[in-house]
């Protein structure tokens, strides 16, 4: 279930994780974990835990280079949720339009 949308929704439900994710999106490049923890007023251990949750949701990727671990953002899973919502928003708008036309014609 690691790639499930539940994980994504849970991952972005936490404000600190949203900030971390946002910082990585804005950086548009891989950032070392040390630098990320310096930006936030929480322990490195706390940041690592949040990063792990984001990684499980597929929202960030982590790779090791030398002694440092680097993170970068992967917003693709969010796009999937957004597209599902967009598709059904449109779908139900059309359906309700059709229902309205049908009822008007019947009356």
């Amino acid at each position: 279930m690691q790639d499930s949308i539940t994980n994504i929704l849970k991952a972005i439900a936490d404000p600190t994780r949203r900030e971390i994710f946002h910082a990585l999106v804005v950086a548009a490049t891989a950032l070392p974990i040390t630098q990320i923890s310096n930006q936030f007023d929480i322990s490195r251990q706390g940041v690592t835990k949040h990063l792990k949750t984001l990684e499980n949701a597929g929202l960030i990727k982590i790779h090791t280079q030398g002694r440092e671990r680097f993170c970068y953002a992967n917003p693709t899973p969010l796009k999937e949720i957004n597209e599902w919502m967009k598709f059904y928003e449109q779908f139900w708008d059309n359906a309700i339009d059709n229902l309205g036309n049908y009822l008007d014609k019947k009356a």
Binding site: M1, D3, S4, I5, T6, I8, L9, I12, A13, G58, P77, E80, I81, E83, W84, M85, F87, Y88, E89, F91, W92, D93, N94, A95, I96, D97, N98, L99, G100, N101, Y102, L103, D104, K105, K106, A107
Partner: protein, 141 residues
Amino acid sequence: MNDVITKEHIFKHSIDTVWNAITNAKEISTWFLEADFKAEKGYQYVFNSSGENCSPIKGEVKQANPYTLIYTWIVTETPIETTVKWALEKTEEGTKLILEHSGISNYHGETAVTMFNSFNGGWDNCISGLSSYLKQIVHAG
């Protein structure tokens, strides 16, 4: 981020007219999708589409008491179940519809991608096809 899509709409028609339109198979087939449907709890319904390469929708009726209709919504060839709820309320102008489609969190990322690809190819067109078909009927009438 929310797990539910909600739509509200007021129809200038009586609550029973709207209720029949969303529960009667013949009426559903006219404005929505070709339906094998009964407004009975436990009924396994199928919504087909007349277009090519369109995945049917199937599911089970969970509740069908005037004026609340709830059924599960499964796009064939995907194993994921979402839920559609139609609730009607009498208003001064006519009838208020509150439609809720929930369960997006049941989707796996990968399945979602497959689904969008198949929608882009055909299913989306099935719906717009239906829409223009109905407009033709309305204009002809």
